[in-house]
């Protein structure tokens, strides 16, 4: 309550009132109110398509609102470019890194506003002195002379944040900042956010991850369908209430416990090695079960999936399907053997975004859907309709380019693409990355159902709740090796964390 009182007496660092933004055919923002106090972390939540990104683009001067007011530090402002917004002290840290990889950290930090000497020459000394000061403030261990391409993703993100601090920032917007960070790197990021907060900067934090939001934020504002749904004190609410505001109903987060008939071993891997990604990996997957692969980013989980799908050659080891040793060699042959892969990054690896939903879904089997020399449109539409209904894909028509769908629906198209091929083994890498909570739970249910229908399912995920929720067995990996295998009954969060952080491995050795 003291917080609330204090907030009342200080002016907001930023206030948006009644923001309306329309695009042809869509009202993306419909009278949205939002404010951030100095020294407050204000989380912005909503499903994909709820209008969070549009609101932030309005805030960063990339879009002009049709109606409504933007008040910064007590003055009403109009911003028409990101640079103007930055001059007002509003900076946006993008979800995707937008750095020039060939340049140094310092050049990136001051990109577009390099300090100058006479005749337009760059003042390198000032540039590096200022950049180093900012990096120090962020407790970075690298120097501003470092070339960005050679930095780790986490350090690149630091450069992106450093960029925001070249001006006296009043408000810093973080858009899904932890999407590509490991747990240790996250801790550093949260420290920085708390530092900024202590310095009186207002923070807008956008994320799908509830745990982060509840750790970090002071208040939570929820958007749904472009409309303001309310603002809650983080301390006085819980995940359930927030979720209900976000999707308009409660989520069933419990695990589906109906017993599943587990069948024969479909896929077995023995002593598979592919340096430097993974070595001496052995496991098996039976029909009717979901095997979860859990580990840190870079532990070798995705590389195993790629090897099973014929995208990587393995130095040694064997892969058996139905007990028979196979040599995979290419995705084409993997598909022929009934192995399918829903890749980690659906936009870059799974979908042809300009192509229609239907064409994306039938892509791997279009050669079998021909009538004479031509592709049979009718056969394709039949398949599309069948899997649209089965997976509840929301799209007005099959003609819709896949790129315009929401993340959840895109993921369902990729899953439908493989289901329609009747695979034996379905490998799903990060099934719900960047997908909102509502669709997330739908996809979890779907994965359980698929196992129940007799598919052998492998799920790779970096989210512990997800792994715990969908898996019958969990394979923990650390540094390219399998450290432990758990059954759903015996696994605990603690033992899982130990297994993926190398604790168990060192204890054994």
């Amino acid at each position: 309550m003291t917080d609330a009182l204090q907030r009342e007496t200080t002016a907001p660092a930023l206030r948006l009132a009644g923001i309306v933004k329309t695009f042809p055919g869509v009202r993306a923002l419909d009278g949205v109110d939002f404010e951030v106090m100095p020294g407050e972390v204000h989380a912005l939540l909503g499903e994909n398509g709820a209008g969070k990104s549009t609101l932030m683009k309005v805030l960063a001067g990339m879009y002009q609102p049709d109606e409504g007011r933007i008040v910064i530090g007590g003055r009403e402002v109009r911003m028409t470019t990101p640079l103007e917004a930055k001059e007002q002290g509003v900076v946006l840290i993008h979800q995707e890194l937008s750095l020039v990889p060939e340049m140094t950290a310092a050049e990136n930090i001051y990109l577009g506003e390099l300090p100058r000497k006479s005749f337009g020459r760059v003042d390198w000394r000032t540039l590096h002195a200022r950049s180093d000061a900012i990096l120090e403030r962020l407790r970075c261990k690298f120097r501003s002379e470092a070339v960005v391409a050679q930095l780790s993703i986490a350090n690149q993100q630091m450069v992106e944040i450093a960029r925001a601090l070249t001006v006296d920032a009043r408000v810093v917007v973080f858009d899904e900042p932890t999407a590509s960070l490991t747990d240790a790197e996250k801790v550093v990021l949260f420290d920085i956010i708390n530092d900024l907060k202590a310095q009186g900067v207002g923070i807008v934090y956008i994320s799908h991850r509830m745990d982060e939001i509840f750790t970090l934020s002071d208040r939570i504002t929820v958007l749904r369908d472009g409309q303001y749904r309310g603002t809650l004190e983080t301390a006085l609410t819980n995940e359930d209430e927030v979720t209900r505001l976000m999707i308009g109903r409660s989520l069933d987060l419990s695990r589906d416990t109906t017993p599943v008939k587990v069948g024969e071993t479909v896929l077995a891997v023995r002593n598979l090695t592919c340096e430097p990604h993974f070595e001496d990996v052995s496991f098996s997957v039976r029909a009717g079960e979901v095997v979860g692969f859990y580990g840190l980013v870079g532990a070798g989980r995705t590389a195993i999936a790629e090897a099973l799908f014929g995208l990587r050659d393995c130095a040694s080891g064997t892969i058996l399907i139905d007990g028979k040793e196979v040599s995979i060699g290419s995705p084409e042959r993997a598909i022929g053997m009934g192995i399918s892969l829903v890749p980690e990054n659906r936009k870059e690896q799974g979908l042809v975004l300009q192509m229609s939903c239907r064409d994306n879904m039938t892509l791997p089997q279009v050669q079998d859907l021909t009538a004479g020399p031509f592709v049979s449109s009718g056969a394709e539409i039949a398949i599309f309709d069948q899997y649209r209904d089965r997976l509840a894909i929301k799209t007005p028509s099959w003609r819709q380019p896949a790129g315009v769908l929401s993340g959840g629906n895109q993921q369902k198209i990729v899953i439908g693409k493989w289901l329609s091929m009747q695979p034996r083994v379905l490998i799903v890498d990060e099934p719900t990355r960047g997908i909102d909570v509502g669709s997330k739970s739908e996809i979890h249910t779907l994965l359980r159902e698929l196992a129940a229908q007799g598919y052998a399912v492998i799920v790779i995920s970096s989210e512990m709740p997800e792994i715990l929720r969908v898996s019958d067995r969990i394979v923990a990996m650390y540094h390219g090796r399998i450290t432990r295998e758990f059954t759903a009954a015996e696994v605990t969060e603690d033992s899982l964390v130990q297994a993926i952080s190398g604790v168990a491995a060192t204890a054994e050795a």
Binding site: R27, Y228, I335, Q354
Partner: protein, 367 residues
């Protein structure tokens, strides 16, 4: 005094009561301020939509009407026949270029391939082995010329596939190298067709259509069907749109791209053969700058240099646009050099309009 939070809390309660009105698909039309509604109605018209997707056909229509009034000889059937014959050469290559460019590649070697194929077609007929074949001596000559085109295309495609070097670089090298081979082969001389049946071919008509125009139209139809209706066509879009996703769908990208290079090699050679029948000869400089005309036509037709987007209907429009402009300005006795200036300007203008339409339609950012 109520703290701001409680105010918002209560507002949220109100909002949660009755279900929020769903966002209608055509929300823009119901908005106050009729202009956006009118624009959106205008945009919903299928013909307008089609023209916005294919701005080149709007342009073709405009120049066609313009020249019909500006020149007394333009709007005559014989002149339309002329335009088709004149454009058949770059038109045929443009068909292949559309496939290669949708694939995300490019082929700069088509002009040189055309010249080499033309040289073969004219020279081989006069080889001593075929001396007793009469008019049949043309057949092996033409077949060999077409095979040379396909083989060169296969070579380009194979190098792109196996080395992973950008198609721009590979075919730039091929353009220089093949042109060099043309000079070696011809000894810097022109070859003349001794068999007059060969040069007579270009003036044959089938019904109302000159045979060259007929070949062009049939090939256009064939490639249109290939691209829009077959598995190969579908894969062409997939590979150009997202190569990684195509690999993950089991498409063998390398061989696929090689086939498209072979197709464009075939069309370059066919174009060379037809051009040499028109001239009754093959010169070593034949087909110079053709790659630029062809790429201009394809890009005018809406194919993206980055791949994944484009179609034959657009390319046909682009080819006609160039043909009509050259023909019409020629009839109006505009000096040929101005044609280059005007075409260059139009190329940029059409792409600018395309970008504008697409950007506003997507609510895109100013980047």
């Amino acid at each position: 005094m109520t703290p701001p939070d409680t105010v918002k809390q209560s507002r949220q309660m109100q909002d949660d009561g009755p279900a929020a009105p769903p966002l209608p698909q055509a929300a823009a039309e119901t908005l106050p301020g009729g202009t956006s509604a009118r624009i959106s109605l205008f945009r919903d018209n299928p013909l307008v939509r089609w023209l916005m997707d294919n701005p080149i056909w709007g342009f073709v229509l405009i120049v066609f009407v313009f020249f019909s009034f500006a020149s007394e000889h333009f709007f005559e059937f014989s002149n339309v026949q002329n335009i088709l014959v004149q454009t058949s050469t770059i038109g045929l290559i443009a068909l292949g270029m559309t496939l290669v460019m949708i694939n995300g590649n490019i082929d700069l070697s088509v002009g040189a391939t055309l010249a080499l194929a033309a040289a073969f077609a004219v020279d081989v007929q006069s080889w001593a082995v075929f001396a007793s074949w009469g008019n049949w001596q043309i057949l092996p000559a033409v077949c060999l010329a077409l095979l040379v085109g396909i083989a060169l295309g296969a070579l380009n495609g194979f190098i792109v596939w196996k080395t992973g070097v950008d198609a721009f670089i590979v075919t730039l090298g091929a353009m220089l190298g093949i042109r060099g081979l043309v000079f070696v082969y011809t000894g810097e001389q022109s070859f003349y067709a001794m068999n007059f049946a060969y040069s007579d071919f270009s003036v044959v008509s089938v019904g109302p259509l000159p045979v060259l125009a007929l070949i062009f139209l049939l090939c256009t139809l064939a490639v249109h069907l290939l691209l829009s209706r077959t598995v190969h066509g579908r894969n062409t879009y997939a590979v150009g749109g997202n190569r990684e996703a195509a690999v993950n769908a089991g498409i063998r990208v390398g061989p696929h791209m090689m086939i498209n290079f072979m197709i464009i090699g075939f069309f370059a050679a066919l174009s060379g053969v037809l051009l040499s029948t028109q001239m009754g000869a093959a010169t070593p400089n034949l087909g110079r700058d053709y790659e630029l005309w062809v790429i201009t036509a394809v890009v005018l037709g809406g194919t993206k240099l980055t791949g994944g987007k484009g179609d034959i209907i657009g390319t046909f429009g682009g080819v006609l646009a160039i043909g009509i402009l050259r023909n019409g300005m020629n009839l109006m006795q505009v000096p040929a050099f101005y044609v280059y200036v005007i075409l260059g300007g139009i190329l940029i203008a059409v792409l600018f309009l395309d970008k504008r339409f697409n950007r506003t339609a997507n609510g895109g950012l100013r980047l």
